[in-house]
């Protein structure tokens, strides 16, 4: 079984992640997931490819902390976080988060908190490659 928190170049399967998430508990009634995908334009510019770079060791450590914190904070039964570090095109998967709980409110709250915190706390950078050139994405405040 794959680790619940991973940084990887390869794509992932939601079915496999959900099966792994469920494996730990028969009390899981609600699973909320978030899948972030590459879009073909961003702020009006055509985006041909997006490439990612990570401070790998710190990023993985932060993602593991996020998972542990979310499980405690929202009473989740389990959670998984997978982030690709690769060059992707429109439609490709980038990040996947799954939060499982007895009931749906905790699952939704935990999942949303995880992606919001991931964007704030995990050292990964995104570069957009457009017909006009490449540029690092500056996150909105």
């Amino acid at each position: 079984m794959n680790e619940p928190v991973r940084i990887q170049e390869a794509d992932f399967s939601q079915d496999e992640e959900i099966t792994a998430l469920k494996a730990g508990s028969r009390r899981m009634g609600g699973i909320a997931t978030f899948l972030g995908c590459a879009r073909d334009f961003s702020e009006g510019r055509d985006v041909r490819e997006i490439s990612f770079e990570a401070y790998g060791s710190m990023a993985l450590a932060e993602m593991k902390k996020l998972r542990t914190e979310a499980i405690a904070k929202f009473g989740l039964l389990d959670a998984r976080i997978v982030h690709r570090v690769a060059t992707v095109v429109a439609g490709d998967n980038i990040v996947f988060i799954a939060a499982g709980a007895e009931h749906r409110a905790a699952a939704f709250d935990g999942c949303r908190w995880l992606i919001d915190e991931l964007k704030q706390r995990v050292p990964i950078w995104k570069k957009e490659i457009t017909p006009q050139g490449e540029s690092w994405v500056t996150p909105h405040p």
Partner: protein, 79 residues
């Protein structure tokens, strides 16, 4: 030896992924960022987060230890 790591937009401006500085007793985080900033002011201007040994730190007066790993990082844009 102190290793300073650069990623993404900072690495592009420094045009390097890593710099090394000799460790001397009493060396602080501020000493290191000042040295990088002298050489690459444009890179330092986009540094929003600093990590020492993979933990974010906010106090630039932090005393460093030999073999510390410092990362000077732009705002994250993962996810």
């Amino acid at each position: 030896m102190i290793r300073v790591l650069f990623f993404g937009p900072v690495a592009d401006r420094v045009q390097a992924r890593e710099m090394q500085f000799e460790y001397t007793p009493g060396l602080t985080l501020h000493d290191i960022t000042a040295r990088v900033g002298m050489q690459h002011p444009g890179a330092l201007s986009i540094v929003s987060f600093i990590a020492v040994n993979q933990n974010q730190v906010h106090d630039k007066q932090l005393a460093l230890h030999d073999n510390d790993e410092i990362a000077l990082m732009a705002k994250f844009s993962g996810g």
